[in-house]
């Protein structure tokens, strides 16, 4: 034991150890990234399977069809008449209410208004009570009048009405079925789900009629007029939360297995199950998860632990609306079978094709490694800051160091802590700025902010120089900032893996900057949050920089309406770390003497 201790002591004093951290950090990042790229391989991903035996997807015969198609066509005429005249929400709801009441269902409406976002509308819904049930559980079928792209969901709403009529005839439902038509695919569903759980804001009305606990939701986004080939499943929720994998698997199994149509994920219209396609699907999924925005009407349900997906047909084939209806019928029959809430399968997963996934245990280490590299650097900087300055300067020629030379230096913590706290607190400024600015001013405000943001480190470093900070204090500033960053990111990795990974990689240069190394200033400016935001928007939106206004509006909408926390991570975790990094790089340490202990 004493030998072990002395060994550790020797190792601690070894000069090699102090040189190791940058390489260790670099290794962590490399391994983290390589890990991610290994995931699509057969050895690291798994085949999907149905974990909840009660679901029995595709085991029931579906009967939707026959003369129901005549009814569908009639309803389609009614919906077309509304769509062609571009009727407003109230007129649409009057018609939908009339049809639902003819079917024999009672309807209820809910108005909502998000004043800050300039969004308002009226939801209409109707509860088909389970024939022998007691309103304890419910499943939801949603169709929004306009989908995320602003197209009118003609066939979706029609299919919802036809299915309402068809489902009413069955006596086997064990859960209530709620048919919900919303004017749009973001604010409407959000207002409805919030009100269902009584957590709605002031502009949103309470629901006049309610049922029991929501067990699942299915959204129809069906704008394609002619016959289709495959079904696209959108499953990402707000803040990167995902529905239970069993739900996705059930739809895949019913649509792909029973109905014999193709199934697509993440807007990969062709997927040949190659490494490249798998990787692309996974990365697209990670991007969506990392941004944390809503990807359809289903996204609003997921934060309330209601598993939901959006189904939208695509491709040219021979499947018609009745086939789509049978997919929904089959999925509802499966959900109806559920005795317990969906809890068996995974809630944290990355899908890389409809039949392959990796679960959290396999992918989490990669984000954790990226996050932990900041902690390594932070610890190294802390140790370094405790060494006499002369030693560090000389480069520690180890072998003949005596005790006196290894003496610890007293650390001056007040200034570093103060700087880190102030910069972290400054993060509230851009957060408030971008979430409270009126929409039309967002683009100019962003441009001004980007410029100011690039000047900010220079200003701050000049300000800081009035306090004559030493190298040690610069090291400590960076150390505390990176410690916080590492802590935030590793916590975030368990909640939103992709966001943590993205921020971690973009912030990774911060691990290698050192006080006074001014050549880092330019590369750091390139990975500053506003620049990254601008460039990414320009690349993703095909070269239009003006799209930044849309992106910012969406972010503000997400933050204000849907409780999306991505802006908090960007402005209160990443941005302060970046500001501190740039500040330290630009710093000119004064040659004040450090006190020797």
């Amino acid at each position: 034991m004493p030998r072990l201790l002395s060994g550790a002591h020797r190792l601690r004093n070894s000069p090699l150890l102090l040189k190791l951290p940058p390489y260790l950090s670099f290794l962590c990042i490399i391994v983290g990234v390589v890990w991610l790229f290994l995931l699509p391989l057969d050895e690291y991903s798994r085949r999907t399977y149905i974990s909840e035996n009660a679901l029995l997807p595709g085991q029931v015969h579906t009967y939707f069809g026959g003369s129901d198609q005549n009814v569908f066509r009639a309803f389609k005429h009614e919906i077309n008449a509304l769509a062609d005249t571009d009727a407003n929400s109230t007129v649409v709801n009057d018609k939908v209410a009339e049809i639902l009441e003819d079917i024999g269902l009672k309807t209820a409406r809910q108005r909502y208004r998000y004043a800050g976002q300039g969004v308002q509308g009226e939801n209409i819904y109707s509860v088909l009570a389970a024939p022998r049930g007691d309103a304890t559980e419910a499943i939801v079928l949603v169709a929004s009048w306009r989908n995320g792209k602003g197209e009118i969901n003609r066939k979706g709403v029609t299919l919802l009405l036809t299915l309402a009529r068809y489902f009413r005839r069955w006596s086997l439902w064990s859960k209530d079925i709620i048919f919900l038509v919303t004017p749009d695919s973001a604010a409407g569903p959000q207002a409805w789900v919030d009100a269902y759980h009584d957590s709605h804001t002031a502009g949103v009305e309470s629901l006049p009629v309610k049922s029991g606990a929501l067990q699942g939701a299915l959204v129809i986004d069906y704008v394609k007029e002619d016959r289709f080939k495959s079904i696209h499943i959108a499953y990402d929720g707000v803040n990167g939360a995902l529905p239970n994998l069993d739900l996705v698997n059930s739809v895949v199994s019913i649509a792909g297995g029973q109905m014999g149509m193709g199934v697509g994920l993440q807007e990969m219209w062709t997927h040949r199950d190659t490494y490249r396609d798998r990787l692309e699907t996974m990365l697209r999924g990670m991007l969506k998860q990392g941004l944390g925005t809503a990807s359809g009407a289903h996204s609003a349900f997921i934060p309330y632990h209601v598993d939901a997906v959006t189904l939208s047909p695509y491709g040219d084939g021979w499947q018609d609306e009745m086939a789509m209806g049978r997919v929904i019928e089959g999925t509802f029959r499966s959900l109806n079978n559920l005795l317990e809430k969906l809890h068996q399968s995974f809630f944290f997963y990355l899908l890389m094709s409809t039949e392959r996934f990796v679960s959290i245990g396999t992918y989490l280490p990669s984000a954790m490694l990226v996050a932990v590299n900041f902690t390594f650097t932070s610890i190294a900087l802390w140790i370094k800051s405790g060494m006499p300055e002369a030693e560090v300067g000389k480069g520690l020629e180890g072998k003949r160091m005596d005790k006196a030379r290894l003496g610890q230096v007293e650390r001056d913590l007040f200034l570093p802590l103060g700087v880190v706290v102030v910069v972290q607190a400054l993060g509230v400024v851009p957060l408030g700025l971008f979430n409270a600015t009126p929409q039309q001013l967002l683009a100019p405000v962003f441009a001004i902010f980007t410029i100011l943001n690039l000047i900010l480190p220079y200003v701050l470093s000049e300000l800081l120089r009035t306090y004559k900070p030493t190298t040690q204090q610069y090291q400590l500033i960076l150390s505390f900032s990176l410690l916080l960053l590492g802590m935030f990111l590793s916590t975030l990795a368990t909640l939103n893996f992709s966001l943590s990974m993205m921020v971690g990689l973009l912030a990774s240069p911060l691990s290698f900057v050192r006080p006074g190394s001014r050549f880092w200033a330019i590369p750091l400016a390139l990975v500053s949050p506003p620049v990254v935001l601008g460039v990414a928007t320009a690349v993703l939106k095909h070269g239009s920089f003006a799209a930044i206004s849309d992106v910012l509006r969406e972010a503000a909408f997400g933050w204000n309406v849907m409780g999306m926390y991505t802006p908090v991570i960007v402005w209160c975790v990443w941005w302060p770390a970046w500001v501190v990094g740039s500040l330290v790089v630009l710093g000119r340490p004064s040659t004040g003497k450090a006190k020797t202990a």
Partner: protein
């Protein structure tokens, strides 16, 4: 010989039957009332009496012996048992049958007045009663234990006259409820067996499990109460009631083909006024709230005549439709129209199979709504109640009950009773009643509160509120609660389904007369999801601890049994020593082998 005997038996039986019938000890009646939205309410009522002296002398005639013995053994004065399923849609169907006094919340409800001096004795008798009834009705009534039993103070009043009313202290009221119990055919069969006709004759012959349990709402009730008419002999009355709301469209579906396949397109009823109407396009007009049915269609069988034991002065079947509607009946059935113009009854011979046909009147409107005058408008109930959970998450929640008084001029006073499971810990200080349209709580709405807090794992919360709601107003009654974490073994096998919370019982009092309850209603049950552990966790824990113990034990055992010596003290280990050792072993073996050979030769 056999035939003769049976004939004789039949003869004697009919003599006997006519003898009792005159004493009006048993009667039965079925009331049918079409409701809006293509529904039909069928209320079966069977009632029989026995004098208290005969009952105490174990002399049973119409009173079921099996139940009577249980009641005597458990010292039960008055008993009410309810089996219910489904949801009464008060908005469409209006007031409840029997003013809601013959129904329970979803699942099983039981309340009884027991003869007992002390609480312990009452508990003991209660347990005897629930266990015996559990066996009799094939229901899990034996699970009504201390945590599910309450002693309501304001909600229930005895319906009968308890013998010594002045010393009512020696009867105790206990109330138990099982919201999760699924009511099904196995509960119907024992229910029918209690009837004198055993379900073979009279209106009881219409009761078929398939149709009863396919109903949108159904409630089976058994009420036993002692009645002492002034100056007469005390009698014990048993009343069995079955109320069900049938969906006409669904029950008319033939039993052989229950799947609602899409009809062939030429059979589809279309709205011809639509401009796009064609062979392949059809705006449906077939949902016409159809109110035409025959008895045999909706119940799946014909009625086997009137029960010979029943009181002939009470018509066995009544139908509540306006007199303007035609009703066709089988031969031998006599129709009697009641003076109120809203109902008619039928006298049925006891030996004929009977059917009643209610034809469609006129052409139903294309919009799908019931033609005027086809059915009676249901009465408005005195109170609407809707209860739901608020909030989300695994830690806290809230309950909100919306109570609406539809009456334009009369205020309504009622007792609202919740019996909640112990793991739903309510915060009483958050209890508040708020009038719709006002912001703050209104203290005048809740007149009186009786609250008995829960004890973990021993008893549930009991909350009784006497409330008064002004005319034409809506009240939001809300309170918050905390979800507790159960022990690992306390979770049921389907823990992730959630836990059922029993329906709230609302007893409406006549204004100014607190003691007399006029009607009651139940809210729906609720599904409470509690935080559930990952049930594979104990497995992981076992694996981990086993590994840790194995490692620790291995090391410790090694240290204890090994002798440690310094390296230079021990025998030298090298290739050379190993070689000599192996050589020695080999030569030993060779020696032994040789020895064995020699031995064999000898």
């Amino acid at each position: 010989m056999h035939r003769f005997l049976s004939f004789l038996l039949l003869f004697l039986f009919s003599l006997y039957a006519s003898g009792v019938a005159s004493a009006a000890d048993y009667h039965e009646q079925l009331v049918l009332q079409p409701l809006p939205l293509s529904a039909l309410l069928a209320s079966f009522n069977f009632r029989s009496n026995t004098s208290l002296s005969a009952f105490e002398a174990h002399n049973y005639r119409f009173f079921p012996r099996s139940l009577g013995q249980i009641l005597q053994h458990a010292g039960t004065r008055e008993l009410h048992l309810r089996f219910s399923l489904g949801h009464w849609d008060a908005e469409s169907w209006g007031a409840r049958p029997w003013n809601g006094t013959r129904e329970g919340g979803t699942g099983v409800e039981l309340w009884a007045w027991l003869e007992a001096e002390e609480e312990d004795e009452a508990n003991h008798r209660w347990s005897t009663l629930t266990n015996a009834l559990s066996g009799l009705f094939c229901a899990s009534l034996n699970f009504i234990d201390g945590t599910r039993t309450t002693r309501p103070v304001m909600s229930f009043r005895p319906e009968g006259t308890l013998p010594n009313t002045n010393s009512s202290s020696n009867t105790q009221l206990l109330y138990g409820v099982l919201p999760r119990e699924v009511v099904c055919t196995e509960n119907l069969t024992p229910f029918l067996k209690l009837l004198p006709s055993k379900g073979k004759a009279g209106i009881a012959s219409l009761l078929d499990g398939h149709k009863l349990f396919d109903a949108s709402w159904q409630s089976m009730a058994i009420d036993v109460r002692p009645i002492c008419p002034p100056g007469g002999e005390c009698v014990l009355e048993i009343e069995q009631t079955i109320d069900m709301v049938l969906d006409i469209e669904r029950s008319k579906r033939p039993r052989g083909n229950p799947i609602p396949r899409p009809v062939p397109s030429h059979e589809l009823k279309c709205d011809m006024t639509k401009p796009y109407q064609s062979d392949d396009t059809c705006y449906p007009a077939d949902y016409t709230a159809s109110q035409d049915w025959t008895l045999s269609q909706v119940f799946g069988r014909l009625m086997k005549g009137a029960c010979p034991l029943s009181d002939p002065s009470v018509p066995p079947v009544c139908l509540r439709v306006p007199h303007s509607r035609d009703v066709y009946v089988s031969v031998g059935v006599r129709e009697m129209k009641n003076a109120d113009g809203l109902s008619r009854c039928f006298e049925v011979p006891s030996d004929a199979e009977v059917d009643i046909v209610l034809p469609q009147i006129g052409q139903a409107g294309v919009t799908g709504h019931t033609a005027n005058g086809a059915i009676l408008t249901p009465d408005t109930p005195p109170l609407y109640a809707e209860r739901s959970f608020t909030g989300y998450g695994q830690e806290r929640g809230g309950v909100q009950t919306i109570l609406t008084n539809p009456s334009p001029d009369k205020e309504v006073e009622f007792v609202y009773m919740e019996s909640l499971p112990w793991f739903m810990r309510i915060y009483l200080h958050t209890l508040q009643a708020r009038l719709d349209g006002q912001n703050g709580a209104d203290n005048s709405l809740i007149q009186e509160v009786y609250y008995r807090p829960a004890v973990d794992r021993a008893r549930g919360t009991q909350l009784e509120l006497r409330m008064r709601i002004p005319p034409a107003s809506t009240v939001f009654l809300t309170y918050d609660f905390e979800k507790s974490i159960l022990r690992y073994t306390e979770y049921p096998p389907d823990a992730n389904r959630g836990f059922d919370v029993a329906a709230a019982v609302i007893t409406i009092l006549r204004v100014g007369q607190e003691a007399v309850s006029t009607s009651s209603l139940r809210t729906t049950t609720l599904l409470l999801s509690l935080p559930t552990p990952d049930f594979s966790m104990p497995y992981n824990v076992i694996i981990f601890t086993s590994t840790a113990i194995a490692l620790a034990f291995g090391g410790l055992f090694n240290i204890l049994v090994r002798r440690f010596v310094a390296a230079d003290e021990g025998p030298e280990v090298s290739i050379k020593t190993l070689k000599t050792r192996i050589a020695a072993r080999l030569s030993d073996l060779v020696k032994k082998f040789k020895q064995a050979k020699i031995d064999r030769k000898e």
